[in-house]
Structure formats: structure tokens, C-alpha cells
Symmetry: C2
């Protein structure tokens, strides 16, 4: 459970920590970043809520830490931001480095059931259990009872599914350009086939559009998707499928904003990061 500090970087009045730990679920050293807002240091008795940000395909914890602008809003609101990595690294599993949308950098926030990937590609357990346990043990000022979740693209899929699979675990959820119906898009089908096997019925356990059909109550969910996002245009994201499923299931509170011209990049996240921090703050400080 011990955490190694690789760097401490002043940012927006707080500190961005580059950390790593030896993870058992993923069987390797996992890097992650943690932003501690200024309130952490101003009042040692303050309990600081946490927003988990799940990154997209090919990313590490660093991309959003540098380009996503979450520290700006988190600093104002007094929220820590936890940036996990997107997969195990360096397991030397055959094929894991063959493509950018599967294997390394593309863990898809599932627990793999197929060999050889089940030997470490367990990002679902890692992000829902091992990483937060590690972080809350190492940073007692963080409030384990107040955690929200957000993410981008594959990480948006992660945020939606982790929230929907664990009622009560997270105070709120939001997403940028989430892969909203992976069982019906090429990215999701490739990943789920590789990690979960060819029996597509099993894939539904990690599909937000399937999971929302069983949700009880409102969601209070904010999603931003850019209309200039090429992956949206190519049918990789399918937020309309998620919206329709929520509507048919009578799940209210799903707000999908189609942002004119915005693309799939961190420029979009930076633009709307404050809104997503504010969304989380509404529930973290309720």
C-alpha cells in the first residue's frame, strides 16, 4: 500500500503529485497523479473530497494533468483530483503493444476474463478498489466518503460504467465524449472481445447503455460531446443510444450537451473542465 512520490509540482495554489505504487490487481507498478488543492494545506483538519478523472485511449495520468485544466476549478472548490493510468504497463503480455486501442494504454476499465489478459488487465478492480484504498491510506486528509467520477472517451465509458455498477459509491458522475455503448462500436467490440471473450452477452456488464436500463432513480449526469469530434461522427461514442435507453427506462437527469465544433481533444476538456468540477462539487458538498 506504500506510495512513491516521483514529483511534487506547484499548480493553482495546490500541489500536483506524481506518484506510483506496486499494484496487486494489475501485477505491476502503477503510476498515477493526485492533485491536492490549496485547502489541503490551509487547514490540516479539512477533509477533502475527491474527483476521479479516467483518461482515454493512449493516455497516461499526465495528459489531463497538463492539458485538461481540472486543477483550475478543483483549486477554487477545494476538491482533490485523482488521475489513474489507463492500463497496466510492462507486463510483457503477447500482443499488448500491437495496437493503440487495445492493451497498453487501453485497459477499458474492465476486469479481463480471457487469457492472457486476465493476468493483469483488471482496471475495473484497480480503479474501484485498490487505487482508492491505497490513496486514502496514504493521504488521510482525503475523504473516502465523498468521491465523484468523470472521464474522457474510454475514460468516459469508465466513469459511466463504474458509477452505474456501484450505486452509492460515487456522489456524482460526468463525462466528456464517452464511449457510451461500447458493445455497438468498433473500439468497444475489439476491446471486449479481447478482454472478455467472444460471448457478447457478457459484454453488457460493462456497457453504459445496457446498465442505465436497470438504474433506479435519477442520474444527475452531465455529458459533453463535441459535434466536431471525428470519433463521434464515426459512431464510436453513440451518446444518443445512451440517451434513448435512459429515456425509455424512465431515468431522468441525463444532460447531454452537444457542443458545436468542439473536437475530441483536450482543448474541449479544458474549455468545460470547470463545468464538470462544478457538477461534482454540487454533490460532493451537498
Amino acid at each position: 500500500m506504500s506510495v512513491t512520490t516521483k514529483a511534487t509540482i506547484a499548480s493553482f495554489g495546490g500541489k500536483l503529485l506524481k506518484l506510483s505504487h506496486q499494484a496487486t490487481t494489475t501485477r505491476c507498478e502503477m503510476a498515477f497523479n493526485l492533485y491536492l488543492p490549496p485547502q489541503t494545506f490551509q487547514d490540516p483538519a479539512a477533509k477533502i473530497p475527491v474527483l476521479i478523472y479516467l483518461s482515454g485511449l493512449t493516455c497516461t495520468a499526465d495528459n489531463c494533468s497538463e492539458k485538461g485544466f481540472f486543477q483550475h476549478g478543483a483549486s477554487k472548490r477545494g476538491i482533490a483530483v485523482l488521475y489513474p493510468d489507463t492500463s497496466p504497463r510492462g507486463l510483457d503480455i503477447q500482443g499488448e503493444n500491437d495496437s493503440w486501442d487495445f492493451g497498453t494504454g487501453a485497459g477499458f476499465y474492465v476486469d479481463a476474463t480471457e487469457s492472457p489478459y486476465k493476468e493483469g488487465y483488471n482496471m475495473y478492480s484497480y480503479v474501484t478498489e485498490e487505487l482508492p484504498q491505497t490513496v486514502f491510506a496514504a493521504f488521510p486528509q482525503l475523504d473516502a466518503t465523498r468521491v465523484s467520477i468523470t472521464g474522457h472517451s474510454m475514460g468516459g465509458h469508465g466513469a459511466l460504467t463504474l458509477f452505474l455498477k456501484n450505486p452509492g459509491k460515487y456522489k456524482s458522475v460526468s463525462a466528456f465524449a464517452p464511449i457510451s455503448n461500447p458493445i455497438n462500436c468498433p473500439w468497444g467490440q475489439k476491446a471486449f472481445n479481447g478482454y472478455l471473450g467472444s460471448e457478447s452477452e457478457k459484454w453488457k456488464a460493462y456497457d453504459a447503455t445496457e446498465l442505465v436500463k436497470k438504474w433506479k432513480g435519477d442520474l444527475n449526469l452531465l455529458i459533453d460531446v463535441g459535434t466536431g469530434d471525428n470519433f463521434y461522427k464515426q459512431g464510436q461514442l453513440l451518446p444518443e443510444n445512451f440517451e434513448a435507453a435512459a429515456r425509455e427506462a424512465g431515468v431522468a437527469g441525463v444532460q447531454v450537451r452537444y457542443q458545436p465544433d468542439y473536437d475530441h481533444s483536450y482543448f474541449t476538456m479544458a474549455t468545460f473542465a470547470d463545468d464538470h468540477v462544478d457538477h461534482a462539487a454540487r454533490y460532493l458538498f451537498a
Copy 2:
């Protein structure tokens, strides 16, 4: 004078344009970025003031566009941000790619007088004359009479010297971690020796600490330097020399903020970018 648009990216309600043009001063195609704030599009009759951001060693126009978050404040204030490149590219001048702090990516905002660099390393003329002329011709909504300047490290040196050498040309100046006294630091000595020759008396024409001695009136200058900045600790920046020279010359209005723990990275710029945009806005909208 024609400008080629390589990309148009939605950002903070405005558009970040990736542009290039064939430059005569630098004898090559020069890439640059231009952020047009939302006000440009909301009111076609609006005249938009411009903040020039000069980048540091090794950088292109992209680094700060992605990680500096000037768009956040510029969007609120209605200011365009012009991000020039840091040197000519691809001239194939012998030695220009041998080190990271001289030649490519390290033009130092001077007009070289030494062979072979005088054949294109004319970033002073490029940034003060050719680039703005090109931009104002191509984007008539931009207000050529309201321009401010800022920059980071080598670009901070650029901002200070261009402002001090051209009274009245820029409405205001600010800088992050500027190389404030290049004739007395290793980076500056290496660059000036290469571009301007070994006669060090000539170097003073591009040294902010020398130039401020001759300034008439107040400066209203904002500088941020991080106390955790290794280049500051190594004596590459020397902001104290600039402060002392200004004080001795009776030049008021020099505000140098030593920011505890902040380093030389874009995390520092991102944190204080809003302050520097606000500083420029005070004079651009005076």
C-alpha cells in the same frame, strides 16, 4: 502576406487557429497560432486587441496553446492571443540543430549579425514587424493599435526587450521567469555570442537590464518567477538584476512576484495566466 490555415480548433468559446506563412525576414515558412476569442464571432464589427505570447527555448507555438491556458482569460476579456514560433525552421544552417539552447527553437528574439545566422535568424524583426503586419492584414478585426506582449523564459526576455526597445508600440508587458539579464547568464552569453558576435558591448541592445536603465517613466510591469525554478536557482534568469537596475534608474511600477515552490514549467504559466491576461486587459482596454 498570405496565411495558410492548418487547423481550426474550438477552445473556450473561441477558435484557436494553427497558421503558417512564408516569411521574408526568416527566409522560411513560419508556423504560428492565433486564438480568436468568442467576441470576434459575436460581433463582426468589434475590434479585438491582441496579446503576443513569446515562447521559451525548445518550444513551438503549440506548447503554450495547449498547456498555458491563456485562452481561458482571453476568452473572458475579449483578447486575441498570438503565439509566434521561437526561431526559423529548416534553414539547414550549419550547427543550428546541435544544441537545444541555440539555433532551432532558440532564436532569442534578436536579429543576428553574424554569419551564418544572419541568413534567417531575425526573430526581432519577424516578431516586431513582419508577423504582426501579416496577421493584421489577414484578420482585419484585430486592432493593430492595441497590442500587448508577454512571454516565458527566453520569451520573457523577448517580451521585455521588445517592449523596452519600442516605446509606445505595446500597451503593456509582463513575463514569466524571464531571462532578465542575458549578457550575464550562460544561455544569453552563448546565444548572443553566436548571433551577435563576440563583441559583448553589442549585446546590451538586447538586454532588458541594460535597456531598463534608459527607460523614461513608469513600466507597469508584472513578472512571475517561481522559487522552485531550477533555472532561476542556476542564475539563468537574474530578475533581481533587472529589479535593481530599474530601481537605480528610478523606473517605478516593476512588480516581481516570487511564487513559492513554482517551477519553470507550464504548470506555473497555467496558474498565473489569468493574472497576466488581466494585466494586459488593464492597458488594452484603458
